[in-house]
């Protein structure tokens, strides 16, 4: 059956919108549920039939979780030892510092690979694959090593680990941006008297500003949401937000969905804002040299 161009176009459009709408619901619903639950009073957290819209919406969960306002806690749901604001601070410091280090040294390394071939192509792939080793296999000796040198349960310890695990991504992503800076611009600077370091910091890096930002924000997503390493390498002094969230799952507390949702929303919103800011660069950053334009 041959269709005319407009018939085919209509059919395509219908299919496209149908599939996309289905996926929109699939993608958006859990996020909606999380947000909705965070506004539900405690008797609607897991009632049956399920309540799809909080009635009436309440800020109690937020007040209890984020502000530690005990007066809103129903006794059996009081969670006394949590300090979300401290965790928020820890998460922010750890994530931003490790990301900054990663991008700084990663871009320097990427420059070296791009212009001076300090790492062969094989080594670059090996570097990327290094990141793919499951962290679980090194966490045990790492925690012993850290406790021996006093980095266990410290922000610095996590920063170093996050720096190490995100460096491969930083190198790969910034390299694709550096490759696009024409060499002649650097050579012009060189012959005019600029040293190599100056060329890197005054000429090359400013020209890939947007790429650096995108890389920074992408790695920030990774360090912000990391769970396993934070779980093992911190005990009481330092908690990051993901760990904070898991504390609400203790068996003594029961199913405090509303509270969890309120905390979860707080963890997720910054990340979503960041992700939406850089969405245009995600495609380029994820290509790892496999896409040519």
């Amino acid at each position: 059956m041959t269709m005319t161009k407009s018939q085919r176009r209509r059919l395509t459009k219908t299919i496209r919108y149908a599939v996309l709408t289905i996926w929109t619901i699939i993608a958006a619903f859990p996020i909606y549920w999380m947000v909705a639950t965070s506004f539900k009073p405690d008797n609607q957290w897991f009632s049956w039939p399920p309540v799809y819209f909080p009635d009436p919406p309440t800020l109690d969960n937020y007040r209890n979780v984020w502000l530690g306002a005990q007066q809103y806690a129903v006794t059996q749901y009081a969670i006394s030892s949590q300090k979300p604001l401290v965790s928020l601070w820890n998460s922010t410091v750890i994530a931003t510092t490790s990301t900054f280090l990663s991008v700084l040294f990663g871009s320097m390394l990427a420059y070296g690979v791009s212009r001076y071939r300090i790492l062969s192509e094989a080594r670059m792939f090996q570097l990327l694959m290094l990141r793919m080793i499951p962290p679980i296999v090194v966490v045990a000796p790492l925690s012993l090593y850290y406790s021996a040198i006093g980095l266990l349960d410290s922000r610095t310890g996590l920063i170093i680990v996050y720096f190490l695990t995100t460096l491969p991504y930083a190198v790969w992503m910034t390299k694709s941006f550096i490759d696009e800076v024409p060499r002649e611009v650097e050579q012009a600077a060189e012959i005019l008297g600029a040293s190599r370091w100056r060329t890197v910091f005054e000429i090359v890096l400013p020209l890939i500003r947007s790429g650096l930002v995108a890389t920074f924000l992408f790695i920030l997503i990774l360090t912000w949401s990391e769970y396993l390493l934070a779980l093992i390498l911190t005990k009481t002094q330092v908690t990051t937000l993901p760990i904070e969230l898991s504390k609400y799952q203790g068996s003594t507390e029961g199913r405090v969905y509303g509270r969890q949702a309120a905390l979860a929303v707080g963890i997720t919103i910054p990340l979503m804002i960041v992700g939406l800011i850089i969405r245009k660069h995600l495609a380029r950053g994820f290509s790892f040299g496999m896409v040519r334009r």
């Binding site: 024409p182 002649e184 611009v185 050579q187 012009a188 060189e190 012959i191 005019l192 000429i203 020209l207």
Partner: protein
Amino acid sequence: MARIELLNLHKSFGAVQAVKNLTLNIEDCEFVVLVGPSGCGKTTTLRMIAGFEDPTSGEIRIDGRVVNDLEPRDRGLGMVFQSHALFPHKNVAQNIEFGLRMKKMPSEERVKRVREVAEMVRITHLLDKMPGQCSGGESQRVALARTLVTNPSTFLLDEPLSSLDAKLRRELRAECDRLHAELRRTFIYVTHDQEEAMTLADRIVVMRVGEVVQIGSPMEIYSNPVNQFVADFFGSPSMNLLPGEVVHENGIARFRSIRFELPLPEQFKAARPGAGTLGIRPEHVGINLGSGGAIELPVRLVEPLGKETLLYFDAGADRAFVAVSAGLKMVDVKVGAPVALSFDPRRLYLFDTDGQRVNV
């Protein structure tokens, strides 16, 4: 000042030999043009002089001193790139003063110098603009200014005009000429455009596949090409090249080609018989309507260009045989009409089967 010597320079990229055994002396204040087709090694040579490529072997000397191991910035050179390579994130003034900042010149002096140079290339009105806002011609002037301001002893120019349209190219070409005359510095210029080479150079270095083919003044290159390649490369329209053979009959040397045969002038009396190519530039072919010339061929195409007219003939070679007539005298010649052509005997060239010029 600056005398540049290249001694037995070799450069290989893996299995590819980009430059083979290049030896060249460039005198102070000369305007030297390295010219040749793509892949001939001219840009590689320039980059070796600048210091961006290390020679595989050989020496580069500036003023008698070996500079192979010196950084580009320590060689006292200035370079203008094909893509002008301005810093996109700095404005024009910042671009120009960059070299002076590297030399730690104090700020007030820098401003003065930048202004001086900007006046010299006539871009004072652009000083606050960003490179993205400048046209191709303007950008190239900024690139020139940026190099000028550091006062190098030698200027290296890597095809600076090839990204410009024909009119701009002529303008900036004149600019280069003027600067060279005013500044009295050594200019080393790379191009693939033979016209640029002919008009700008004091000396031309013709290169091909990594080797120097001929070095000489534009006049020499034009009238005394050392082989067929050089003869063909220079001159527009290109030299007519007719394949055929040299034969000796009754003590007279003759050239026999598919469509015609003609006696060779005195100087070829001792030419060895055998296959060869005859060369004559279109501008040296005399045209007589009617008969009475060395050969007679029917016209295939008439191309009036205003200041001259080109006539195309079929002489049995791959390319058409071209003759040039000044003005529009020949414009009414009919296609197919036989035209008698005569050759200035002093302007005939003979090349052997290897393309080498047969000398007299």
